[in-house]
Every structure is written in C-alpha cells, then in structure tokens.
C-alpha cells in the first residue's frame, strides 16, 4: 500500500476523492469516439466572450484534451474532448487587453457546474416542488411548439410573454424578431440594477443614452460620486487598466482620486481622499463645487464651452451661477464642509485633466436623475475644452443598422417588470398565458412588493431556456437547457469600455458537455417549425448563420479585419474574437461618438428635489444601502464555489452575508462583531450577522447583494440573506427605475455569533503579522 493511500484510509475522510478521476478513469464505463482531434498535453487558446456581466470583455480560453464523463443517448461513458482549463482576457480586445476580473475567470465553473441542467426536463410534481423528470429533446420541442401553436390557434399570440436578462447583440435581435413575428408583446428585460437613470441623464447632459467610457490613463484628477468603477460599475476591467496607468503609468505624474459615498466601497478604499456625504445629496455636493468654479471663474474657457452650456442647461439656476448652492448652503445639506468644497474646486481646475463621474447609490434615490445631471454638469465644467479631448466620452456605435442594441433610452427594467406583474395579476383578457424565461431571476432579485412571485405562479405555462434551476426557473413546467456560454456562439455589442466601436464574436470554445442545445438554435428551430411570418423573419437554420449575416456588412468598414472575401472576413472575425474599428489616434479627440442633437423646443431644467425614503426617520432610523459585490453581481453568480470562497475585499467574509454597521451604532444598540441582528423595513425583515466597520456612516446600514438564495444549487442555497427582499418599491419617478437605496430600516440585536455564523477569512488566522507599513 502506498504511503499516501494509507494516510487517506486511516484518516477515514470519506470525502469524494475525485482526485484521480481524470487520470484513472472508471474502467466500467465505455468510451465514446472523440469528435475532435486534439494533441494531448498541448494547450490551444480559443477566443470567447465573457457573459458574467454586461461589460463584454473578450476571452481566450485555454483548451486541452481530457477525459470527460458524459451521457450520450441514455448511456454514460467517457469521451476525450477539448476541456476549458482557464479563462484569460483576450490580449487584442480593445476593452480588456488581456485582463479579466475575478468573476469573469470563474466562468469556468459555470461550464463545469455540477448543478447544470444536463438535458430537457419536465415538471413532475407540484409547481416549484423541484420535481422534474428527464424527457427527450424531440418531446420537449414538441411540447414547446404545441403550446405556441395553441396560442396562435386561439388567436391569443399576444398572451406569450418573454422574460429575460437585458441582452445586446443578436440574441436580443433574435428574441425581438421572434416575438414580433409571433404577434407577442416585446420582451420584459429585467435586471434589478439597470442603469436607466444614468442613461437618461447622459442623454440629457451629453446627448448619449449610454454609459460613459473613461480614458482614466490620461486623467490627473478623478472625482467619483458613488461609482464603484474598480469593482462592479460599468466596465471594471477597462477602468482598472486605466486606473493603474493613471496612478503609476506616467513617471512623475500621479493622478489624484477622490471618492464621494457614505459607505466605503472597494473602489472608495483606493481613494486618496474619501468624502462622506449624506445619502441622496451627492448631486447637491457636485453643484456646491460647481458653484465655486462658476463664481470664482476657475475654468473660464470651460464655462463658456458648448458642452458645459448643454449639460449646465439641465440644472435650474446654472446660468445665474447656481445662487442656491453656495458652499455654506450645501454644507448644511450634505455634511461636507464648505472649505473642502472650495479646495476640491481649486484642485480640480488646476490639476490638468479632470473628470467627475457618478454611479451606484446616488442614482438609486428618488432624486437620482437630478444627482446624475448635477454631476454631469460639474463634469462638463472640469473636463471640457482640452486639446487632447475629454476623459469622459462614449464608445462609438458599430456601423451596423441592426447591431442589436436597445432603442435608447430604454424603459427602466423595474417599470417593465412592474407593469408585467400587474398585467398578469389583473386577470383581464389577453394577459400572459405562457411565459418563456431566459436568464432572469426576478423572484430573487425583485422586491416582493412587485408581487412577481404571485404573478408568475398565475401563468398557466412556463418554459425556461436557462442552464440552472434558480428561484424563478424552479417554477417552470418545462426546461430546455441552453449550452453554457463557452459552448455557444457568442456576440457582444459593448456599450462602453472602448474608444473604438466594436462587436465581439466567438464560436464555441468547447463542445457541449451535456445534452443541451443553444437557446438561439431552439428559437430558430421553433420559428421554422411554426412557419409563416416567423419562418420568414428568422430564415436561419442555426444562430451562426444569423451572426454571419449580421456581421458581414462590417467587411466594407475596414477596421481590425482586412479580408478579400466574405468567407475570409468571417474566419478572421472568429479568430480575432470580434471586429473593431481602427484605433483612435489619441484618446477621444477623433474617436468619440457624436452626441445626439439637443431635442428641439424648450428644455425644462431640473430643480433640486430632496430625496424621499420609504419609512419615517423615527420608526426606521437608518438609511439602508444594498450594494453589489464583484463576486456575485446581482446574485446570478452566487452558485460558483470560487466566488463563495473569495473573501470580500473589505471584510474578508466568505460563504456569508452580513450587514456593515458603524461601531458607534453597534455600541449604542449593544451589537458586537459577529452578532446576529434583525433589519426591518416597511416591506419586510431579515436576519444577518453584523460586521462593525469604520467605513460607514453611523446612520447607514449596508449589505451586499447576492446571497440569500433559497433555490440556486448546492453552493448558493441557504447562505445568508437577500437585502432586496426588504426593499420597498420606491422608484426614481422620471424613469421608473427601482430606487434601491431609498428604503429606511431599523436594527436590533437578536443573537450572538453562534447563531449568526459569520465566516471571515482573516478570522481563522493569527491576526495580521504583516501589518506594518512597508519600509
């Protein structure tokens, strides 16, 4: 007996030792004939696209031959196939230039997740019971088409609803065309943290209904109002690349970074100066700074620039020099001292290339649009009129008529979800009879007040096209599982992060492991089967044919692919992982997208509105701020073990959720680190461990989003609590966006650490032996 085996057996671990599985495959299993020819031991890098957030980073996938245990035609066996071993950023991609964030790298675990749905399944127990039985693809497709045919036959095609995560590119185009030709209403695109407010503000201020792209590498001064741009906001990898260069990429020149927020984020932790501001008054602070610049004429040329006039015209009192926003007046509202405001105004206008950006919690208030417009006005004052172009610009749109981008500005996804739920619950004729679900999980991520759970329960037929069982797809009657992204044809039309216009495109990096089928191919097949307008609108056998037809017009545009024939072009686009226009010479000067013209007619400017909150300050003494984490996003990557065991940047917590409480608040309420506390709002309550943090305002509680899943596989279910579940359905009125930072709460201790079970990474280690300033 070998020594290690002896240890193994004597320790009686009983742990599933998959250790040897890849090297000494089970001899009982038959072997299937390999479908691809790979040289063993040699890694091949294949292009793909990251789908774990909307940034659209390019990937290169390390593929090596290995033995996989698979099921084919009802029989289990081993097959030699290309296996994805690692995800890195694609070096030539203009957005992420070879880099990839923590979450993106965990895309590997989406592919190889043990809880993936491996073949079509049909509900066999009560709805939501989690009981399903496997059925064949033929039967599954027959069932899907029979439901659709029944709707058509009863002249109720408009009773088909499609609920999906917001998509861009040809997947969106496909779903929209499918629904239009079928006669169904437009899809309900839902994600809780959409950026409708910022897009609306950017349209008004800058003429672009899009998220901005930041040329941070050239910045000398950046002030961010709540934007977690190094963690979760917008295009974090592109922004981190720029940030590194801003700090240390130019010898002798180091950009300064100021963060304004009321709970220190991972991004804020990197700031040279961190400024705490009362929730909902960030825009007021921006205007206080702008007041100093205007009144002291600190940027005389910028003030008169067309950009500043345009953005400024959105704010009432701008042309008069913002008389209501004297530093002293603003100090009273924001809690930030007038002296700091005056100093910031001077620093910003004297420091070379400066920019002001806004994102996150300030936009999730009832006055979110006003705050965004205010920061945009400040941005136009400090970032305009430079020869080398501004820091903040907008990625030009790809030169295609049907790039698959949403018509801008899109309706806020929360508003769409609300009206969908209300329409179902109204029970009127023509309300949805059949729901198709794709990659959206509103039962987890929408506040219960939307009644989306009840609405979905009311729909007679639910078909999911997703890869996993989650809270929403658990309600499905039929699941036709999609391939994993790395097994799929992918395209992306990134909204931001690049100075060049670009479209990402990649063929499957690996063959399907399970008996799944790509969602687009399923829809295309159904369209052909149903015939008529549908077949005419979607005349493609497979999704790659649709992608090819959509992208070929780019050949005439030159850019990154020079090809003599359409086939050459198509091949090169696949090898490169997409198409992008020629790189801009210097920053934004020539590249930036042209702003839309100002709408004609009189523009109403926006006057200050105070933020409103659900719950009175007496009954609910604390502001409550849910926040996104790099690991989990909106909760849709909580099922990945690498993400669960990644310590939170600021608290080191893993496999848990927690609430951040200032130590003074803790002392007042008798709450210590690791205690179990109850947080209650008008809408509900939850229990969660307490983390005492000096980085949060004493009247604020903050809680990460993503945990608290009741039904999302073995790694996510049963950890922590979901802060979205206690949000009141407060909205930003001009867009209908969920104002997720506008719920007030109360707090009480309900138990000790043994009930709370907070897991800290540092907690098990002997302190911080390294914790000395390096000398």
């Amino acid at each position: 007996m070998e020594r290690r085996n002896f240890i193994k057996i004597s320790a009686l671990t009983g742990v599933a030792a998959t250790l040897d599985a890849c090297r000494a495959p089970d001899k009982q299993l038959i072997r299937f004939i390999p479908e691809e020819n790979l040289i063993p031991g040699i890694a091949v890098w294949k292009p793909s696209i990251c789908t774990l957030c909307s940034a659209g980073c390019g990937l290169q996938v390390r593929v090596m031959q290995g033995d996989a245990e698979v099921e084919r035609h009802g029989e289990r066996g081993l097959i030699k196939m290309g296996l994805a071993k690692r995800l890195e950023g694609s070096p030539q991609n203009p957005i992420n230039a070879g880099k990839l964030c923590a979450r993106g790298q965990a895309g590997l675990q989406v592919l190889y997740h043990p809880d993936r749905i491996t073949k079509p399944i049909k509900r066999s127990g009560a709805r939501g019971s989690g009981q399903f039985q496997a059925i064949s693809w033929d039967d599954a497709l027959k069932e899907l088409t029979s439901h659709l045919t029944a709707l058509q036959a009863s002249r109720s095609a408009n009773a088909l609803a499609f609920l999906a995560r917001p998509l861009r590119g040809q997947r969106r185009e496909l779903i929209e065309k499918f629904l239009t030709a079928f006669g169904a209403p437009p899809a309900v695109w839902y994600e809780p943290f959409d950026e409708a407010v910022l897009r609306q503000a950017n349209l008004l201020s800058f003429g672009h209904a899009a998220l901005p792209t930041l040329d941070l590498a050239r910045a000398d001064y950046v002030i961010s109002f709540g934007a977690d741009f190094l963690g979760t906001w917008n295009s974090p990898v592109a922004q981190s690349i720029g940030y590194g260069a801003m700090r240390r990429g130019r010898p002798g020149r180091r950009g300064k970074f100021v963060q304004v927020e009321s709970r220190m984020s991972q991004t804020g932790a990197n700031a040279d100066e961190w400024i705490a501001c009362k929730p909902g008054t960030e825009g007021v602070l921006a205007l206080g700074i702008a007041h100093v610049i205007l009144s002291q004429k600190l940027a005389p040329q910028s003030i008169a620039s067309p950009a500043a006039s345009r953005a400024g015209s959105q704010i009432a009192g701008w042309s008069a020099g913002l008389p209501e926003f004297t530093p002293e007046a603003v100090e009273k509202q924001t809690g930030v001292s007038a002296a700091v405001m005056t100093r910031l105004a001077h620093e910003m206008t004297l420091s070379g290339a400066a920019a002001a950006i806004v994102g996150g919690a300030p936009l999730a208030q009832t006055n979110g649009l006003f705050s965004a417009l205010a920061v945009n006005a400040l941005e136009s004052l400090v970032d305009a009129n430079r020869d080398e172009g501004p820091i903040l610009g907008f990625t030009p749109e790809p030169p295609l008529s049907n790039a698959g981008e949403p018509a801008a500005p899109a309706q806020a996804s929360f508003a769409r979800l609300n009206s969908f739920a209300q329409s179902v619950l109204s029970g009127k004729a023509g309300t949805p009879q059949m729901l198709m679900l794709y990659d959206a999980n509103p039962i987890f991520s929408a506040p219960p007040a939307t009644k989306i759970r009840e609405a979905i329960a009311r729909i007679p037929t639910i078909v999911s096209l997703g890869s996993f069982i989650d809270e929403t797809s658990a309600q499905a009657d039929l699941i036709l599982p999609d391939n994993a992204p790395l097994e799929s044809w992918l395209d992306s039309v990134p909204e931001s992060g690049s100075f060049q216009s670009l479209i990402g495109l990649a063929p499957p990096a690996v063959s399907p492991l399970h008996e799944t089928r790509p969602m687009p191919d399923v829809l295309l097949g159904v369209a052909q089967h149903l015939g008529g307008d549908l077949a005419k609108a979607l005349p493609y056998a497979t999704f790659d044919a649709m992608l090819k037809a959509a992208l070929l017009p780019l050949r005439a545009q030159g850019g990154s692919v020079a090809a003599k024939t359409d086939d050459d072009f198509w091949q090169s686009v696949q090898t490169q992982g997409g198409w992008w226009s020629a790189p801009a010479a210097a920053g934004w000067k020539s590249a930036a997208a042209k702003p839309a013209a100002m709408p004609q007619g009189k523009q109403a400017s926006h006057a200050l509105t105070a933020p409103e909150f659900a719950g009175s300050a007496t009954d609910f003494p604390f502001y409550f701020q849910p926040y996104l984490t790099p690991s989990f996003g909106d909760g849709s990557t909580a099922h990945l073990p690498w993400m669960q065991e990644l310590p939170d940047a600021l608290t080191t917590a893993m496999w848990s959720s927690w609430v951040e409480i200032h130590p003074k608040t803790g002392a007042m309420l008798g709450i210590q680190q690791g205690d179990l506390v109850e947080i209650a709002s008008q809408a509900g309550s939850l229990r969660v461990p307490a983390v005492l943090s000096p980085g949060i305002a004493p009247d604020l509680l903050a809680m990460p989003v993503g945990q608290g899943h009741e039904n999302f596989g073995r790694f996510a279910s049963g950890h922590g609590a979901n802060p979205l579940s206690i949000l009141a359905p407060v909205v930003e009125p001009s867009t209908g966006s969920l104002a997720w930072a506008a719920t007030r709460v109360k707090l009480a201790r309900v138990g000790g650490p043994e009930q709370a079970k907070l897991v800290l990474f540092a907690g098990g280690m002997s302190g911080f032996p390294h914790d000395e300033k390096p000398r």
Binding site: I7, K8, A11, V15, A16, T18, L19, A21, C22, G66, A68, E69, A84, K85, R86, E88, G89, K99, C101, A102, A106, L108, Q109, H113, P114, D220, L230, S240, I241, Y243, G244, R247, R248, G249, G252, R254, Q266, A269, N270, W274, I275, E347, E645, P647, A649, L650, T652, P694, G695, I696, H719, K757, V759, F761, G764, F768, P769, H770, K773, R775
Partner: protein
C-alpha cells in the same frame, strides 16, 4: 545565466479586486474547502489580499496588500522541514516537494507571512468541476502542505520552449497567473538577474520595500509603497 525569479507588488496600483486570487485557484488547482472548513480557518489561498483599516468615519483609510509566498532567500520554512520537502531550488525558489511532505506543518508555523495552506482533507471537486483541473500541476492530497510556486509549471514550460528554440527567455514572455490577470498591473513578474527586466527596474524604485524586511528573510517579492495620502504629485 541563471534566473532569479522575482515579483513586484505596486501597492499604489493594487485595487483589491482579487482577480489574482481566482487566477491562482484556476492555474494551480487550489481547492475550495466549503463553508464549515472555511469557518475554522482552513480556506486555502496561495495569494490573498490583506486589508488594514486605519482611522474612523468620516476619515477611514484602507490599505490593500496582496500577500503570497515571498520566495525568501533566507527562508524560515526551509530550515525547519524534517524531510527536506521545503527546500531551496536551483533557481532560488522556495520549493515544496509534495512527495516528500509528511505534513508536520513546521513550515507553516515558521513562515512569518502565513502563506502556506495545509490539506486537512483530500480536495473535492464535485463532478464535473474536476474537468477544470490544470493537468500541468499536481493535485495535492490530504496531509500535504502547499503554497505559491511562482507558477513553476509556467516557468518550466517557458524554459523548455526557449531551449527548444535555442534562445534565451525574453522579459515578459513568462508571467505568473496572478500577474497575468492583474488589470491595474500591480503585479509584475520577471527575472531579477536581468538588469533590464521590468521587474528589476521596479524593484530598484525608491518606493521599494520588503515585507517585514527586519526579519532578514531576504524575500524575492518587493512591495512598492503607495505614497502619502492626499499626495497627488509624487513619483
């Protein structure tokens, strides 16, 4: 010329994003241990991002600091290993010969940087998560100590490739998984014996310092200081 591998960590570029941590897990088959084991301090990381808090609201300050095996020239871990599993390799790395390791954990005890992880159990990758395992790196079993190797498999493979092409390694052609993933370029890996390499140039910066340099462990990892708070213009 022999190589001397080194890594520079620029604390002014590090954003605490932990992309390096996941990159390391993926590259080196570092297991996840699950909630219960993590709760008793058994989570395994070859590189971790430490944070330290100073001050209080409204002026709290945080420093992030990636900590990994410092690949010391005078390594406390090597001296205490009774089986010579922890040893100094020809290229100056703190090697860990897994097949020699009998799990005394003396090395972990001796390491002032607490960068060693012990396999209290056989690692578990629930099928088919095992398919993600990197075949270039062993999967360690129960009773074995493991830690950062500076991605020795990447070093070996690059050296073999350069030898096949009868040339020297070029600066930048070889990097560790953590440095590869680092978007803000806080981590830079290379050959300290090559005076023109980026890592040599950075390691001689006036911001350079060794972690717990006073211990005399002579690390091959160098930290570059952030610079003073609110100081917008220093080099």
């Amino acid at each position: 010329m022999a190589h001397k591998w080194g890594l520079v960590v620029d604390l002014d570029r590090c954003t605490g994003c932990e992309a390096c941590v996941v990159a390391c897990h993926a590259e080196n088959n570092v297991p996840t241990v699950g909630k219960d084991q993590a709760a008793i301090g058994r989570a395994m990381q070859w590189i971790r991002v430490e944070r330290s808090w100073e001050g209080d609201f409204p002026n709290p300050k945080v420093r992030f600091q990636p900590v990994l095996c410092q690949q010391c020239d005078a390594a406390p871990c090597e001296a205490v290993c009774p089986t010579y599993a922890s040893y100094h390799t020809e290229e100056g790395l703190n090697g860990q010969a897994y097949n020699r390791c009998i799990g005394t954990r003396f090395c972990a005890n001796a390491c002032p940087y607490t960068v060693r992880s012990f396999n209290f159990f056989n690692p578990s990758w629930q099928k088919p998560l095992n398919l993600q395992l990197n075949p270039d790196v062993s999967v360690r079993s129960v009773g074995i100590m493991e830690k950062c190797t500076f991605c020795v498999q990447r070093i070996k493979s690059a050296e073999i490739q350069a030898e096949a092409e009868k040339r020297d390694l070029k600066d930048g052609e070889l990097t560790t998984a953590c440095a590869q993933s680092c978007a803000s370029k806080a981590l830079v890996f290379g050959d300290l014996n090559d005076p023109n390499s980026e890592v040599s140039r950075l390691a001689s910066s006036n911001r350079a310092a060794k972690l717990m340099g006073e211990l005399g462990t002579k690390p091959n990892v160098t930290y570059l200081d952030r610079g003073a708070w609110q100081d917008a213009k220093n080099s």
